[in-house]
Amino acid sequence: MSILVDTETRVVVQGITGSEGAFHSAQMREYGTNVVAGVTPGKGGMMHEGVPVFNSVRQAVGETGANTSAIFVRAAFAADAIMEAADAGIRLIVCLTEGIPTLDMIAARQFVDRRGALLVGPNTPGVISPGQCKVGVMAGYIHREGPVGIASRSGTLTYEVVYQLTRRGMGQSTCVGIGGDPIIGLSFVDILQRFEADRETEAVIIIGEIGGSQEEEAAEYFRTRMTKPIVAFIAGVTAPPERRMGHAGAIISGGRGGAGDKIRALEAAGVVVARNPADIGETLIGVLRGA
């Protein structure tokens, strides 16, 4: 089954002619994703490696029926690109860009909500349903199809967990990077709701980190609404306070958002929390087999 992306996904790549957009479009297509259009204002009318390029997302949607967007646009312009996609009727917007100003994202998220679109990210590696569709930058070969749903605030830490599972023959239904920023689209709770409703997902891994309250909210959702097991790992037990640890959203501020508090909230709700990042896959396998 999978959530968010599947074989029906038709992708328009915003920023297709830039170096990141071009490289990852080719990688997505190699994986089997249906990239139907690209958008770079000023380059409309040309073909980029067999993909038609348009000046606007609206035009791209009109001519190709694109329903999903992958945004590889610079931080200064990315929030506007998100809004453009929502305005053009795109249903799922995946914004890979890191570094978007927070106030821009507050406006973009409101805009997306009003148009009824879904946003993943920003500052995310994207979404992949192994064997069906990849909208993002993750390496396809480390994934395999299977029953584990993954929701993560990280990039390479997600790959680490995916690989731990794949090497043990335990595949993934869908992996969603919700992103490392303070203001994002789909939250952990939004993704958990979808995994709970997805027939193919039997268990979920949450990869969280310091900052914000996503993990606490997920704990509450799990406690009150979820029937499938969750294994979590929270990065940043050793992070010093008041320092931004790479991700804009990874900061312990005013004493709030520490890893310890998140771990306590998750465990109190019945989530199994792995303490050693090397054991996350193993822990999930143990929980699923024991269930």
Partner: protein, 388 residues
């Protein structure tokens, strides 16, 4: 990005938010001059650092004459001030702010920050100013007024007014407070702030509202569109290794520990630090090399981590996926030869051509220890540190 109190007050002045009369001084002499310009005592001399809690450890002094102001400035400038908020190392006092002392009737708190859960700016206010707001929030949350702001409409006058009256202010002051809050919101939005705080916002005996302190933190992601604000950053306060790393495009935070780490990706980097702690060692740093992972960047990353004399062991954890491990291994061996690395380097590489990369590392004759995953890395770290 934080700015100093005197710089924040400069911004306040531009938005019509009342501040005490005064000016910043970089030397003791300038401080004395500033006092002479102010005229009537008493004067307040405030250490300018990127942290609060100064009053608790002698960072704020009161003086009665310009000569005393000069002496107070002399005792503060260039000194490493430790406060409950600076951490043990403290911060060097770069400047002092010399101000007229105010006659304070009441102390209030007002601030605007981002409510991540509600995804909007939020106005916070309290009739109990002058205390640590986090402490107040933890002990008596009911003492804090909260007003969420819809960016589509901005902070509405009716909201600002409601907050002002909730602080228990009489009509004339509530009106002035309301006007101040609207200006503060404009500043917050126009300058892309992550956080602004006036603590305390005082009501003087004459009934005026004045920002006695000012804290402004600018959204790092927005600095590109505020070059004037970016220019306010005092690079002298940066840890020198951290500043060097930033210049090279590396994200490095120095900690105190014996195992250095170099990783691609912030989440994996934090997890790697956590793993080091988990096996009983102390992470010496956070280092995210980002998506690039070029040979030069690897070499520079190695050099920066190894500048820290406490590092006894290095763990390089690169999960590339698309990255070519043989190219990376070449960069590592070249870098290691050039730098002459004296500590063991545990390397975990994941990506295309992993086996070729590992062979290169082993055959280099350098002290590289390839491991197959984070579990194996765990074991190796524990093993090597027992011997060390």
């Amino acid at each position: 990005m934080k700015i100093y109190e005197y710089q924040a007050k400069g911004l306040f002045r531009g938005y019509g938010i009342a501040i005490p009369r005064g000016s910043a001084a970089l030397t003791a002499r300038e401080a004395g001059e500033a006092a002479r310009t102010l005229g009537a005592p008493p004067f307040v001399v405030k250490a300018q650092i990127y942290a609060g809690g100064r009053g608790k450890t002698g960072g704020v002094k009161v003086a009665d004459t310009p000569a005393q102001v000069q002496a107070a400035a002399q005792s503060l400038l260039g000194v490493r001030l430790v406060t409950p908020q600076t951490g043990g190392d403290g911060q060097v006092v770069a400047a002092v702010l010399v101000e007229e002392a105010l006659s304070v009737e009441r102390e209030l708190y007002v601030g605007i920050t981002i409510d991540r859960a509600a995804r909007c700016p939020i106005l916070l206010a309290s009739a109990e100013g002058g205390v640590e707001i986090e402490k107040l929030a933890a002990e008596r949350p009911e003492a804090i007024v909260r007003e969420r702001i819809d960016v589509g409409f901005g902070l509405r006058p009716f909201q600002a007014s409601a907050v002002a009256y909730a602080l228990g202010l009489p009509p004339k002051q509530a009106s002035a407070c309301s006007a101040l809050l609207l200006k503060l919101y404009r500043l917050f939005m126009e300058k892309d702030c992550a956080n602004v705080e006036i603590n305390p916002l005082v009501v003087t005996k004459a009934g005026d509202l004045v920002a006695l302190d000012a804290k402004i933190n600018i959204d790092d992601n927005a600095l590109f569109r505020h070059p004037d604000l970016a220019a306010l950053h005092d690079a002298a306060q940066d840890n020198s290794l951290e500043a060097e790393a930033t210049g090279l495009g590396l994200n490095y935070i120095k900690l105190k520990g014996n195992v250095g780490c170099m990783v691609n990706g912030a989440g994996l980097a934090m997890a790697t630090m956590d793993l080091i702690k988990h096996v009983g060692a102390e992470p010496a740093n956070f280092l995210d090399v980002g998506g690039g992972a070029s040979a030069t960047m690897i070499k520079e990353g190695l050099r920066i981590i190894l500048s820290d004399g406490d590092v006894k062991l290095l763990f390089v954890n690169i999960f590339g996926g698309i990255l070519r491990c043989d190219t990376l291994a070449q960069g590592l061996t070249e870098g290691a030869r050039e730098l002459g690395i004296g500590v063991p380097v545990i390397i975990r590489l994941e990506g295309t051509n992993r086996e070729i990369g590992e062979k290169l590392l082993v055959s280099s004759g350098l002290n590289f220890i390839p491991v197959g995953g984070m579990g194996e890395a765990s074991q190796k770290i524990a093993e090597l540190l027992k011997v060390a």
